[in-house]
């Protein structure tokens, strides 16, 4: 791309680290994306089996969720943040600390991956107890999260120094955005770290017998919804600070971006109970409060829709577009030299539907129609697999190009990926959401029962919707094959120009004083106050409604692990897993589908 950016000299250590942080997760995505296609086929009954290619359906689903939604996104957010903070603040990071973070995360990923592949952690990416995974799985998750904290802590001194040296200047918007992302992450991962380290790990080791299940769920969703903004905000950083320039214009309003990021800090956490509307243990009035606050977190996204559209209109008119909608025709939709534009633009279009369906989910009693149906994955594929995923893979390609000095190969193909993705995703998610409204459950190997004509549970009326998800899934898979070809050809191609550290940062059209939006402090304090107000009553309800805890269960057996006789925990698990007769007996007793 030739956008006359001001490039910076690239620290070779940062280059090496960043390439690892981008290439390792993109390589893992091959498994995650392939797994996604397999699940679409198995779910629809095209492949009618408990497992395919040696991976059980629920084991594959665990991998799909963890790789695509946790590992890929977190590594990317850190690689992007490291480079962006260095570039926007013109500073060097402490590379030792950055490496400590990276090693913790790589080791954590490896521990989790080994346990999932070994079949010792088929608990899905939400790891809801009392289904139990191997202790190494929980330890790996904890290392991964702590590693991500270390990466953030490494930016703080650089930021403080910049503030000291530039007291009169506004902090660059890119830094505000990426700091907002990681402030949210830092706050929301504390309860889930508590869940994993204090509750789940000792319990999975057999040191404690029972844990409070509703408490673990509430701690998880304290983290689970802000997680969505941890995914989304790096994409917002790209929309505010880069998309206007890629389009050939300016950001319509600098202040709007700052308002939006601060509002996200306030509203993205005290909303988690909207994932728990159908659960016991939390008063319905507190659930309504969380619904109300969730509506608050929609406001910054609505502002963003306006500001980014206005920025694109400004760019379109500068490019010669006339009339009410004429500007829309002049944007660089298929310009190979600005391949990043379609990745971001298409993500925005997808997010119009993704965001609107999210408001439906948050709508308290309307949630009864959609909760845990396939509507939900239909919705969140339009967010995390839409603007987030496209922004992240597009930016990964851009960062590899700039940092290696290897011009992107197959640019004409690279710009088609987002459009293929758009078509595939809309078909897929439409199928999932409509099916969900007709009662299709999520996270269910429906090919074995609900979409198996020989099963008493057969639901012929769902066939059409799962057919759509298969068609959509195949298109999504093909789009990714093209992306992988472009990414790896570029990565392993020959150097054509200088290695540099650069991002296409936009100027602002309206550039006002940031005032109260210039500092994080009041917003972080506001967030903590709101969290306390909205969560204290929830935790009180959980504690007074819980009568008993639950022992650990292996996903393969309907009896608690501590009632299975003989051997240590480890031996018992492998025994019950590995012995064919044991499993057959158990299946025969409990399922009616004649597996």
């Amino acid at each position: 791309m030739n956008l006359r950016e001001v490039a910076m000299e690239l620290d070779p250590k940062l280059k090496r680290l960043t390439l690892i942080q981008l290439a390792v997760p993109v390589t893992l995505l091959i498994v995650g994306i392939g797994g996604g296609l397999l699940q679409a086929l198995m779910r629809a009954g095209v492949i009618q089996a408990d497992s395919a290619l040696g991976l059980g359906y629920y084991q594959g689903l665990t991998l799909h969720g963890i790789i695509n939604a946790i590992v890929f996104t977190t590594f990317f957010a850190i690689a992007f943040g490291n480079a962006l903070v260095s570039y926007a603040l013109k500073a060097r990071l402490n590379m030792k600390v950055a490496w400590i973070s990276n090693i913790l995360m790589l080791v954590g990923t490896l521990m989790v991956a080994i346990m999932v592949f070994a079949g010792e952690a088929s608990v899905l990416y939400t790891f809801y107890p009392p289904l139990k995974a191997h202790p190494v799985f929980y330890a790996g998750l904890a290392l991964f999260v702590v590693g991500s904290w270390v990466a953030f802590w490494n930016w703080i001194p650089v930021y403080m120094r910049w503030r000291r040296e530039n007291p009169a200047e506004k902090v660059p918007m890119a830094v505000v955005g990426i700091f907002a992302t990681f402030i949210i992450w830092q706050i929301c991962t504390i309860p889930v770290a508590y869940e994993v380290l204090v509750l789940l790990l000792p319990w999975s080791l057999g040191w404690t017998n029972e844990i409070n299940i509703e408490l673990t769920r509430t701690l998880f969703w304290f983290f689970g919804h802000p997680l969505v903004y941890f995914w989304l905000l790096p994409a917002y950083v790209m929309y505010y600070t880069m998309l206007p320039k890629l389009a050939g214009g300016k950001l319509y309003s600098d202040l709007a971006g700052r308002v939006v990021f601060m509002l996200f800090i306030i509203f993205s956490i005290p909303v988690g109970a909207h994932h728990q509307f159908t659960e016991p243990g939390i008063g319905s009035d507190w659930k309504l409060l969380h619904a109300f606050l969730t509506f608050g977190v929609a406001i910054p996204s609505l502002i963003t829709a306006f500001t980014i559209a206005a920025s694109l209109e400004y760019a379109g008119r500068k490019r010669g577009g006339k009339g009410l909608f004429g500007w829309f025709r002049t944007l660089p939709y298929l310009d190979g030299d600005r391949y990043l534009f379609p990745y971001l633009f298409v993500g925005l279009i997808i997010f119009i539907v993704g965001g609107s369906t999210g408001i439906i989910n948050a709508s308290y009693n309307m949630n009864l129609i959609v909760h845990n149906t396939s509507w939900i994955p239909g919705h969140f594929h339009l967010t995390v697999a839409g603007p987030v995923f496209l922004g992240f893979i597009g930016m990964s390609l851009y960062m590899v190009e700039k940092m290696t000095g290897k011009e992107v190969k197959l640019k004409k193909l690279a710009v088609t990926v987002p459009y293929m993705w758009l078509v595939g995703l809309f078909i897929f998610s439409f199928g999932m959401m409509r099916g969900g409204l007709h009662g299709e459950p999520r996270r269910t190997n429906m090919g074995m029962t609900y979409l198996n004509p020989d099963s008493p549970l057969y639901r012929p009326e769902w066939e059409f919707y799962v057919l759509l998800t298969v068609i959509g899934g195949v298109i999504l898979f093909l789009a990714m094959i093209v992306y992988f070809a472009v990414f790896f050809q570029t990565l392993f191609g020959e150097k054509t120009t200088e290695e540099k550290l650069v991002f296409p940062l936009s100027e602002s059209y309206h550039d006002e004083r940031a005032g109260v939006f210039a500092n994080f402090k009041p917003w972080v304090i506001g967030a903590i106050v709101l969290i306390l107000l909205s969560y204290i009553p929830v935790f009180i309800d959980v504690s007074r409604s819980t009568s008993s805890g639950a022992p650990a269960y292996n996903p393969h057996l309907p009896v608690p692990e501590n009632q299975i006789s003989g051997g240590s925990t480890e031996e018992r698990v492998t025994e019950s897993d590995g012995t064919a007769s044991d499993k057959e007996k158990n299946d025969g007793e409990t399922s009616e589908d004649g597996e």
């Binding site: 299940i213 709007a256 016991p280 509506f295 408001i359 269910t444 029962t449 609900y450």
Partner: protein, 172 residues
């Protein structure tokens, strides 16, 4: 801040306020609400269907890997069913086909929702939370029968709570 931008911020707040008002109306006007926090009932270990009066039934449903207990809930057409749900092992889901009944079964907790069934037929209950390797085969049924087809039952005192079930309630 530019005047268009200000208008958009006010419009955004207005839109979300309107949506929230619609939710409140659906709660107070139509009475559609979500499960509340229950502190006065211990999770039960015996599944049962209790007839409270002519048209009011109560079920104690236990979700377990990988069945619902009772597997079939029989009620007459026109009956209102209070569903109390718990889990005997892991977390399960409980969703009734074409009804706004959607609950989680959590061990150590009781979830409650009610629904009225006017039309005769079989309504399947789907477990919609992953609960182990046979999750996809876990299903229950609510069988709504014509009133005259219902077997004669001893009717318990009207509105009697669950604790009286053992004396007067009809067990399934």
């Amino acid at each position: 801040m530019d005047k268009h931008e200000k208008r958009v911020i006010f419009a955004s707040i207005g839109l979300m306020a309107f949506f929230f008002l619609a939710v409140i109306l659906a709660v107070s006007g139509l009475g559609i609400t979500v499960p509340d926090c229950i502190t006065d009932r211990e999770p039960f270990t015996e599944p049962e269907v209790i007839q409270l009066d002519e048209t009011h039934y109560e079920v104690h449903s236990i979700a377990r890997m990988w069945t619902f207990d009772p597997p079939v809930i029989e009620i007459p057409a026109g009956a209102t069913l209070d569903i109390f749900l718990t889990s005997a092992d892991v977390v399960h889901g409980f969703q009734i086909e074409s009804r706004a009944v959607n609950m989680m079964a959590v061990p150590g907790q009781v979830t409650k929702m009610s629904a009225k069934f006017d039309k005769v037929g079989k309504y399947s209950i789907v477990c919609h939370e992953y609960c182990g390797v046979n999750h996809h085969s876990m299903e229950g049924v609510i069988h709504v029968r014509p009133v005259e087809d219902m077997p004669a039952r001893e009717v318990s005192k009207a509105g009697s709570p669950a604790s009286n079930a053992t004396e007067g309630g009809a067990k399934l």
